[in-house]
Every structure is written in C-alpha cells, then in structure tokens.
C-alpha cells in the first residue's frame, strides 16, 4: 500500500502544477480541431458539478450496477440503467479520480437507457451515474471499495 500512497501523493503534486501548465500540456497532446465534439473542459475538470455542467438532482430511477468491492481498480465494471423517461445521455463518473468524468454516452435512435463499460478507479469512492433528460440532470451514486494492486485484503 505504501507505494500506491506515494504514487497518489505524486499525482496530487503533479496536478497541483497549476491549471495553466496543465492546459498547455493538454493542448499539445490533444488535436482538438479533429475532435471538436469531445468536451475537453468536462473531461479535464476536477469536480463532478463542473464536469457535468451543473448540479444534478438525486434520483432513485438511476440504477448503478458496480461491485461493492473492486479488487482491481484498473478494471471496474459499471452498468447504469435509467428509468427516467426521455433520457438523452448517461455519464459515468468516479468521484475520487483526479478527473472524475470517465465516460459520457449519447443515446441515439432507438437506444435503451442502459450502458455498460469498465472504468478505472484510483481509490475507494463513489461511482456516480448522471442522466440528462429533458434538459435536466439527475444523479445517483454507489460506493465502491477499491483494493488496489491485489494487496489481497
């Protein structure tokens, strides 16, 4: 665990370099002209509210299927189902990641409001599912315990 703790500290230190340096580095690595639709600001933002563009109302109609304990934080299977009518998009966020937004799914023609994928989680925290329906944001969360790097437990 001590190695991973150090790693976290290091990550925090690097992130603290300042947003200017970070943005410049990101600009070099990301050819935004090609990918205009990809919301860079949202994927780079460090808080949930700014990543999804506003505060979301809690809703039990969003169901999050994720393990209670994830042995490997690099691969956490997550399924999000929304029972909210008129669901337009589903976003998956990992609360404790340095950039919480993991994925955003825009539902197309005939798509049901269920998506599954696998995400990385830096440490124990909540997986947040955010649903956009009728211009409003709804969210639900589920705690996932992460035991990093097969420490065993």
């Amino acid at each position: 665990m001590s190695i991973s703790t150090k790693r976290r500290t290091l990550l925090k230190g690097t992130m603290g370099m300042g947003s200017v340096g970070l943005a410049a580095a990101a600009g070099l690595l990301t050819p935004q002209a090609v990918l205009a639709a990809w919301n860079e600001a949202a994927f780079k933002s460090k808080s949930i509210d700014s990543a999804i563009g506003g505060a979301a109302a809690h809703s039990d109609k969003i169901k999050i299927k994720a393990p209670d304990i994830a042995e490997n934080g690099a691969v956490v299977p997550v399924t999000i189902t929304s029972d909210i009518s008129g669901t337009e998009s589903i976003s998956i966020l990992a609360e404790k990641n340095s950039t919480p937004l993991a994925a955003e799914f825009i539902l197309g023609a005939g798509a049901e409001s269920t998506v599954s994928t696998r995400i990385k989680m830096g440490k124990t925290g909540a997986v947040v599912g955010v649903v956009k329906a009728g211009g409003k944001l709804y969210a639900n969360r589920k705690e996932v315990k992460v035991t990093i790097g097969g420490c065993g437990g």
């Binding site: 690097t14 050819p31 994925a103 955003e104 799914f105 023609a109 994928t117 990385k120």
Partner: protein, 104 residues
C-alpha cells in the same frame, strides 16, 4: 492500428438488440509514470466511439482516460436481425479504427 482491434457481438431478441464490443487500446491517462525513465507516459485514449446500425447512429460515447484499458462497451437498442452495424472510434492522437458486423 492492428487488424481486428475491435470485436463486436450483437444479438437480437424480441426486437431488442444487445450490442457488445471490445476494443484493443492502451487507454493511457497521461498521469502514469514510467518507473525506469521517470517520464510520464503520454496520454493515449479513445475519445469518441460511434455505433451506427442500419444507417442510424444508435450510440455516441465520449470517453476520458478513466475508461479501462481495452475498453468494453455494451448497450441495448431497438433493431432487427441482419442489420448492418458499424463501430468507429477516434483517439486523442487522431488515430481511428472501425469495424463492421451484423445483428444475429
């Protein structure tokens, strides 16, 4: 990109197609350090995945670096057997790949 980096499986049951796909991609966040050189691995992850079926876009996914390596994607949509499916992804280096399949 290497051939067959995308695996698609789509099955229809009762008018609903269950779509599953696996892509081969390192999905580097840009925040991981190479222990030998002390340098950061550059970010390299899929940003956009588009799935079309029978000429219609059924799913657009925008991803960040927090999606796991060799990403998995699954969802359901209304469709029928024999529909053509295409999955295309683009990553942050501008590379892209696509694969075609059919609903079974």
């Amino acid at each position: 990109m290497a051939k067959k980096s995308i695996k698609i499986r789509a099955k229809e049951k009762g008018g609903v197609v269950t779509f599953k796909a696996l892509m081969t991609h390192p999905m580097e966040t840009g925040m991981r350090k190479n222990k030998k050189t002390g340098k950061m691995y550059p970010a390299h992850f899929i940003q956009e995945v588009t799935v079309t079926s029978a000429g219609k876009t059924v799913m657009t996914a925008y991803w960040g670096g927090s999606v796991s390596k060799n990403p998995y994607l699954s969802f359901k949509y209304a469709g029928k057997k024999g529909d053509a499916i295409n999955l295309t992804w683009k990553d942050n280096t501008g590379a892209s790949d696509s694969a075609d399949s059919k609903v079974k």
